[in-house]
């Protein structure tokens, strides 16, 4: 018999990991198409405040979640236009997106500080959710948790089994070839960037609607950057990225619980763990440079201009 606190711990790991799953899976698609969007943090935090604001105003969870996705995609649109059509540097534009998103979200969120949202309802299935251990672990989550797992399945399927996936990987690996056989490189890339933005927005929405259902300035606290690292960690494969997200969610929770159990390590040192773990994991991934280069899309971060 598994004790209740283990079930509870696993549930909190799911909560900590879900925002990372959304953001990282979105970025997998973006990077597969050859675009490097460093603005995940900004899109996430805009998703968080938009979802929270709409949630508080309408008390409608669906609208709130949609608002989060739309806000993320709207910010991604700025990034897309700048990098794809105005050929701006991907790194600098992504940074600007993060600064802008953090500022704008704080501005919008100014009047939402201290307000509360009831949180997302659990999708309880009568009978099934009551089974001990398995019930709460498999059936007691909110809609976004299931959506995050569904997105991993769908993205894997689209990338590997469909013509769309072939196109996305094509423009990411060789945009000149994709262009010369008649595909609109920038349109495909824009679609991927918007998808990535919406996913980051959903990750942010999960933070402010379910994870800690209130608005705190800068509440993403670097998760967007960790999501970026997770894409490298998962070597641009959805399932590996998903497991990476849960690994990091796990580290975050272990860190919290260690404090609860009175482990005599200062809280600040424990809070460093996820960031240090990211660095260590990155070192292990990139150490073998030939492998890292094989899995990274060949045109990642390069602008495309068809002149003529």
């Amino acid at each position: 018999m598994i004790p209740d606190w283990i079930v509870l711990a696993i549930l909190t790991i799911v909560t900590a990991s879900t925002p990372l799953v959304f953001a990282a899976i979105g970025e997998v698609v973006v990077e597969k198409a050859g675009v490097l969007n460093l603005g995940i943090e900004g899109m996430m935090v805009m998703g968080a405040i938009s979802a929270f604001a709409v949630g508080v105003m309408t008390e409608d969870a669906t609208l709130a979640i949609l608002a989060g996705a739309i806000a993320g995609a709207a910010l991604a649109l700025i990034f897309g236009v700048l990098t794809l059509y105005l050929m701006a540097n991907h790194v600098a534009t992504g940074l600007a997106l993060t600064l802008f998103g953090l500022g704008l979200s704080a501005l919008i969120g100014h009047s939402y500080v201290g307000k509360t949202y009831p949180g997302l309802p659990r999708l309880d299935i009568p009978g099934l959710s009551d089974i001990p251990v398995i019930g709460p672990l498999l059936f007691g989550h909110d809609i976004l948790v299931y959506l995050s797992i569904l997105s991993v399945i769908l993205v894997t399927w689209v990338l590997t089994k469909t013509r769309w996936g072939l196109l996305i990987r094509g423009v990411g690996e060789n945009h000149d070839a994709a262009h010369s056989i008649g595909y609109s490189v920038n349109l495909i890339r824009l679609a991927c960037v918007l998808f990535g933005g919406a996913m980051a927005g959903l990750g942010g929405a999960y933070l402010s609607l379910a994870h800690t259902p209130l608005w705190v300035e800068n509440m993403t606290a670097g998760r967007g950057w960790i999501a970026l690292a997770l894409v490298v960690f998962g070597s641009w494969r959805p399932w590996r990225t998903f497991f990476g997200a849960y690994l990091f969610g796990g580290i975050t929770i272990v860190q919290l619980h260690a404090q609860g159990f009175g482990v005599a390590i200062p809280s600040q040192i424990m809070s460093m763990l996820p960031y240090l773990a990211t660095v260590i994991v990155l070192v292990f991934i990139s150490r073998d440079s030939s492998r890292a280069r094989l899995s990274a899309p060949a045109c990642l971060g390069r602008n495309f201009h068809a002149s003529g």
């Binding site: 704080a106 200062p266 070192v283 201009h305």
Partner: protein, 369 residues
């Protein structure tokens, strides 16, 4: 996009010199217009808000002095970062290097709290620089040894540095007289930056910033190292053929930017703050990235851009006090400015043509700089 709007981008044969200097100005004007729009949406009189934001703060001598106080860390860090960005070395963890520099320099001030000597301040300057360098050495080592992306490592280390600061200031560095507030003892006079203009807060740190700009200009425009940095950034393969060592340049640029950020952090605690507090910088390390770009990665430009960005910080504070606007408006302004700059930058390399597209497009690719 070309076909839809029958506006096309046509590559210029050479970069437009007019646009290299013109696009930052266009970006500033566009930011002001967009800012006015933003204020209107917030229900604030745009003209009133812009005056509060950009004129009121520098209408007095105190205000002008304050402008340079705030510009000091931005210019210092921006100059350092510009080297790396030219060589495609993306140190975006300056905020962390600033924090460690502040801890190294400020720690020395606390360690020799009882000692009154003229050597204390120079020692703190050196400690600050070394602290920032040490923190930047981690991404430099990981990039050169294990090929690890310095963007992510330097950024993760920002969070670690801020947590170290929090740990120390809530722990052993807390002042015994602070009534349990998380702040250190006030530094003694020997550990404080001498004031440059009497009755203001302007201190000699600004001279360090100017010296850094001058050194930066000599290095980038007149020295072989500057040339190597530019070649590695623009044409890595050519740099390889010429025998320039990429690893050496990665180390060099990260040490310069880390050292500059560390010095900036030390100057903050020893200048305007005068002690170690939980929040040392309002994001100077991140804003300096915009400063570097806005200044065209050129020392003179970076200095001017640093002063302009300092104004957005000052304006944010004034608007908060005078008009009860949230301080976050500053971040929005800074983000917009960088957006517009990046957008207008397209005019440097391309010209806009309004016509119907020609058939049979030739394929061309532009590597990201």
């Amino acid at each position: 996009m070309g076909r839809l709007m029958s506006i096309r981008l046509e590559q210029r044969g050479e970069m437009s010199r007019a646009m290299i200097y013109g696009s930052p100005l266009i970006a500033v004007v566009l930011t002001l217009i967009a800012g006015a729009g933003l204020f209107a949406i917030l229900g604030v009189d745009p003209l009133d808000a812009l005056v509060t934001y950009f004129i009121t703060p520098i209408a007095t001598l105190d205000g002008v002095a304050e402008l340079f106080v705030k510009a000091t860390p931005l210019v210092l860090i921006g100059i350092g970062l510009a080297f790396g960005f030219q060589a495609n070395v993306w140190n975006i963890g300056a905020e962390g290097q600033l924090t460690i520099g502040a801890l190294a320099g400020g720690g020395l001030a606390l360690l020799f709290y009882e000692v009154d000597t003229v050597f204390l301040l120079p020692a703190m300057v050196i400690a600050g620089i070394l602290g920032g360098m040490a923190w930047a050495a981690i991404p430099a080592f990981l990039r050169t040894r294990y090929n690890t992306n310095e963007i992510l490592t330097s950024l993760m280390l920002v969070y670690v540095a801020l947590l170290i600061l929090s740990y120390l200031i809530h722990g052993s560095w807390k002042s015994p007289e602070s009534l349990n507030f998380p702040e250190s003892r006030l530094f003694h006079d020997a550990a404080l930056m001498p004031i440059l203009v009497e009755d203001t807060r302007l201190h000699i740190g600004w001279l360090f910033a100017l010296a850094a700009a001058a050194t930066g200009w000599i290095l980038i425009a007149r020295h072989i190292v500057g040339f190597q940095i530019k070649v590695i950034g623009m044409a890595p393969r050519a740099a390889g053929f010429a025998g320039y060592k990429e690893k050496k340049i990665i180390w060099l640029t990260l040490m310069m930017s880390g050292g500059a950020a560390g010095l900036a952090g030390m100057i903050e605690v020893s200048g305007p703050i005068g002690q170690i507090v939980p929040v040392i910088s309002p994001g100077y390390g991140f804003t300096a990235i915009i400063v570097a770009f806005l200044g065209r990665l050129h020392p003179v430009g970076v200095t001017l851009a640093g002063i302009l960005m300092a104004l957005t910080f000052l304006g944010g504070e004034t608007a908060q006090v005078d008009m009860n606007l949230p301080n976050a408006v500053t971040g929005v302004f800074q983000g917009m400015l960088l957006f517009f700059l990046l957008a207008t930058d397209v005019l440097v390399k391309f010209r806009i043509r309004m016509s119907s597209p020609k058939p049979a497009p030739a394929v061309q690719e532009e590597a990201a700089e």
